[in-house]
Symmetry: C2
Subunit: 218 residues, 2 copies
């Protein structure tokens, strides 16, 4: 990881996803690591922070998420558009060297000791997975990372391919996200986030628009 | 509605949300109409197209969605940043003239006759709501609109404030979305989509990045 990576307070973690970037989803289990691209990921709650992500049944990453009970959402940059598209277009099922061929470098990190029994555990938030927390793989070079513990929801996962996770740790590249805010306007343009459409076409995030907190007349 | 509005084929409707724009959510029931802003909305499936949206229990819009079984997601433009922020910051509960004060103009449209028993109805997708399809309110001036039928999921709605909808009709402003693609680069900049962070700060969507569909070496 680069020297600019800094922790993000959990109560600000939703802001890493609030503007709708395409993400990379990574997971590991039994010595196998993988990462894929996902345009369908979204914040779900502020505190404890929760997220949703859609993981097709055909993906190897989903198997690793289900087996380990954890996934990482990371926010790739404009410089990683090619990497993101390659991670989204090939499966580890077909290409055992997918990560190397895509040009992805994964870094293992150890989870906080209490990540498997995080603050959202309990009947209201879904039962904690009965797995030991192990290292999780982060894709190097991204703008932000959110490590998530699966809150098992079998009906959502089975019918809609929809997974809910509670964020247990988050980091960002402080050149582009600090003090709870993105700073795209002052950061190098290659650190802008990616927003996928289809057919290899993305948009980078653009210009800042600030609306004063003054009520309309009337 | 303006003369540029054109229907979007349902199998392309996911592309209206794929890049993660902030949306406006509108609904009507019993003569009451309302609209709110939501950053937490996401595509969920291609065909039939489905979406997710998070609707807080405190919102009047949620009550109208639950009562009517329908909601509209619309994609506001950079020109509507102030409108979007105002619709997200005040509640119809507190301000009976919220829509007028926010500067929102709603247009009622009649749903297709079969919208309440759309192609996703059935046990696998959730039971169709037992309500008659009525007019739904669209916020004028947006870049795109998706009319959605609620697929009732009581556990998601109760625990996570998470609603799943099936898209039954979609339109877009053809100046900025046509032939299944956004055309921000050739459209007026005030038609760019909005991506909310916090505290009145949005980003407009930015520049197009196209990745050729060629595999990486190796």
């Amino acid at each position: 990881m680069n020297p600019h990576v800094a922790p993000v307070p959990l109560n600000k973690a939703y802001r890493l996803l609030n503007h709708g970037p395409t993400v990379l989803v990574s997971a590991a289990h039994g010595g196998v690591r993988n990462a894929m691209a996902a345009a369908w990921s979204c914040a779900l709650d502020f505190q404890p922070p929760k997220v949703t992500v859609v993981l097709d049944k055909a993906t190897r990453t989903r198997e690793l998420v289900e087996a380990s009970g954890f996934f990482v959402l990371q926010v790739p940059t404009a410089a990683q558009a090619g990497l993101t598209h390659r991670l989204g277009n090939r499966s580890l099922h077909q290409d055992p060297d997918k990560l190397a061929h895509a040009g992805a470098r994964l870094v293992d990190i150890d989870l906080p000791a209490d990540a498997s029994v995080g603050p959202g555990a309990g009947p209201a938030a879904g039962a904690a997975p009965a797995v030991a927390a192990g290292p999780v793989p982060l894709v190097d070079g991204c703008a932000a990372w959110l490590v998530c513990r699966v809150l098992p929801e079998p009906r959502n996962q089975g019918i809609y391919d929809l997974f809910i996770g509670e964020v247990v740790a988050a980091w960002a590249d402080a050149r582009v996200f600090s003090d709870g805010h993105w700073h795209f306007e002052s950061a190098p343009p290659e650190l802008r986030t990616l927003h996928y459409i289809a057919g290899g076409q993305f948009y980078a995030i653009g210009e800042s628009i600030v609306v004063p907190d003054t009520p309309a007349a009337g």
